[in-house]
């Protein structure tokens, strides 16, 4: 060390004393004091993504509602008039499934591109990449909750027998979020390595849409088909929404907690997969 640097360093020792903790360079700095700062950053990034999504215009939120409304009108017309499906208050039945599905699929599509679409963020020292899928899913869930306005309108129109079971809604939204997050992490990580993951996801979702009881009820099928539907976690979520909003009964708790448990395990595995590939992102982008 030269005399020049020694003098400069001596003047500086006050500051470094405050930051005494050593860490490895690739570890994300984290401490209780930084919690508030992390929250500020998270909220800022969510609003930043909203602005990017709607190109700075809050009117863009209208499109969040427009898409499900159009789907709802078209499917209601085709299935209750043209195909004559025998379900009472079909628009309400359809709405429960469609909003849940849109929340699921839109969140996943956003999450798949979340890391690949944010090179400016993952090149910042100390920024945890796992925040990106979380932000995308948070955004998708906010849009889902906003889209529930449509459901409220239909509930007023059809006035089904609502009761206490409606309070299960936040729990259902929470479990749905858990499920989405569990799939979001591996998709976001794979998109960096394989550029067509998002396109394949869109195709897969198109299939899954018709294999999920959104347009129809499971009991239209003979009993030996039910096991296939039971393997699809969305079936249980959609049936739970229908239970509380159409019939005013509590959802099937066994099925719902089964979905929660499977999602939680998948989330742990998905996050570990994501973190194991974290340092590859910079090289592959």
């Amino acid at each position: 060390m030269t005399d020049k640097s020694r003098a400069a360093a001596a003047a500086a020792s006050v500051k470094s004393a405050a930051h005494g903790r050593w860490r490895l360079a690739h570890e994300i700095p984290f401490s209780r004091e930084r919690l508030g700062q992390a929250r500020d950053l998270f909220l800022h990034l969510v609003s930043r993504h909203l602005r990017l999504l709607y190109k700075g215009s809050w009117l863009g939120l209208v499109y969040t509602l427009l898409n499900p409304i159009v789907q709802l009108v078209v499917f209601s017309f085709v299935f209750s008039r043209v195909m004559a499906v025998e379900v009472s208050s079909y628009p309400l039945f359809l709405c429960c499934g469609l909003l849940c599905w849109n929340g699921f699929s839109e969140s996943l599509k956003m999450a798949a591109g979340s890391v690949a679409g944010a090179p400016s963020l993952i090149h910042q020292p100390g920024f945890p990449p796992f925040a990106l899928p979380v932000i995308a899913v948070a955004l998708g869930v906010v849009q889902f909750i906003l889209s529930l306005l449509i459901l409220v309108v239909l509930l007023i129109y059809f006035s089904p027998p609502l009761g206490w079971p409606v309070v299960a809604l936040p729990l259902l939204i929470g479990i749905q979020t858990l499920l989405i997050l569990a799939l979001a992490f591996p998709l976001a990580a794979l998109q960096i390595r394989y550029h067509d993951v998002k396109q394949l996801l869109v195709v897969a979702l198109r299939f899954l849409f018709f294999l999920t009881p959104i347009l129809y009820a499971v009991d239209r099928f003979p009993g030996n088909f039910h096991v296939y539907f039971a393997m699809n976690p969305l079936t249980h979520l959609i049936e739970a929404y229908r239970a509380i909003f159409m019939f005013g009964v509590w959802p099937d708790w066994t099925a719902i907690f089964g979905v929660a448990a499977v999602s939680a395990i998948a989330l742990v595995l998905g996050l570990r997969f994501f973190e194991s590939r974290r340092f590859q992102f910079i090289e592959d982008l």
Binding site: M1, T2, K4, S5, R6, A8, A9, A10, A11, A12, S13, V14, K15, S16, H19, G20, R21, W22, R23, L24, A25, H26, E27, I28, P29, R34, G36, Q37, D40, L41, H44, L45, R48, R51, L52, P119, S120, L121, I122, H123, Q124, P125, G126, F127, Y194, H195, D196, V197, L200, F279, I282, E283
Partner: protein
């Protein structure tokens, strides 16, 4: 004097793949799913040991490809070392790639907020320092225009301004310190000196020797076999130049 950063037997290995590495799931499906091993490995840094102390500026010189930028990327924690460790204390800020740190579609104002929060400031601190950052970057009239409409000089000044207003403990600068006109460069130098007096350690890379000798307390010559020389800038640069490892432009000036 305790260091703010220690580098201990550092090594980073890159993989090299041939053209047949699948880039999409479809390609992988046609080429078969078996795990494809990289065609070969090459080490960029190996057996690198040094320390950086608070308040000093360490300049790294070396030819293209010896791993100067890789070293900074590793210190920034964006990649993980394959051998050895880098230990750091406190907040690390980096000016590694000026094109990448700003979002082109968002306005200057929004980018300042994002970069400030990312550098570890709280929302209040960003608000407090906002005017300072804007004034330093000289972009007053363009705050609410998207960054894609900025000139490259404006982008560089903005990224630089945010980085030097966040009180980092370690500031990493990759060929970046010298942006803008002479007036702006002088301002940058003054600002960096203030940061260093407050304890910020600066790690700077350059292949232009004159810049290292003008600004740094210490210099390090990084060669393909690791650290060739480490010490006072004049000595290290003399050895570097004696080895014939000066970029052609500078050699013209010095000879």
């Amino acid at each position: 004097m305790t260091p703010v950063m220690t580098v201990d037997n550092l090594g980073k290995r890159f993989r090299r793949y041939g053209v047949w590495r699948p880039k999409s799931v479809i390609e992988a499906a046609f080429l078969g799913w078996r795990r494809r091993e990289p065609d070969d490995h090459f080490w960029v840094l190996r057996g690198v040991n040094f320390e950086v102390f608070p308040g000093e500026m360490l300049g790294v010189v070396g030819r293209n490809g010896v791993g100067k930028s890789t070293l900074l990327t590793l210190v920034a924690g964006l990649m993980r070392a394959d051998e050895g460790h880098i230990r750091v204390r406190g907040q690390v800020s980096a000016l590694l790639d000026r094109a990448r740190s700003l979002h082109p579609l968002l306005t200057g104002r929004e980018n300042i907020q994002t970069s400030g929060l990312l550098s570890g400031l709280s929302r209040n601190q960003v608000t407090q320092r906002f005017d300072q950052i804007v004034e330093f970057a000289e972009i007053e009239g363009f705050l609410d225009a998207p960054v894609r409409t900025y000139s490259s000089g404006m982008k560089a000044r903005l990224a630089f301004s945010v980085a030097v207003h966040t009180d980092p403990d370690i500031l990493l600068v990759d060929e970046f310190l010298f942006v803008g006109d002479q007036f702006f460069q002088d301002k940058c130098t003054t600002r960096i000196r203030t940061l260093m007096q407050n304890g910020t350690a600066v790690l700077l890379t350059s292949h232009i020797a004159a810049r290292i000798s003008a600004h740094c307390n210490r210099a390090m010559w990084l060669g393909s076999k690791g650290i060739q020389a480490l010490g006072s800038p004049d000595e290290v640069l003399a050895q570097y130049q004696a080895g014939g490892h000066v970029s052609t432009g500078e050699r013209g000036l010095n000879s």
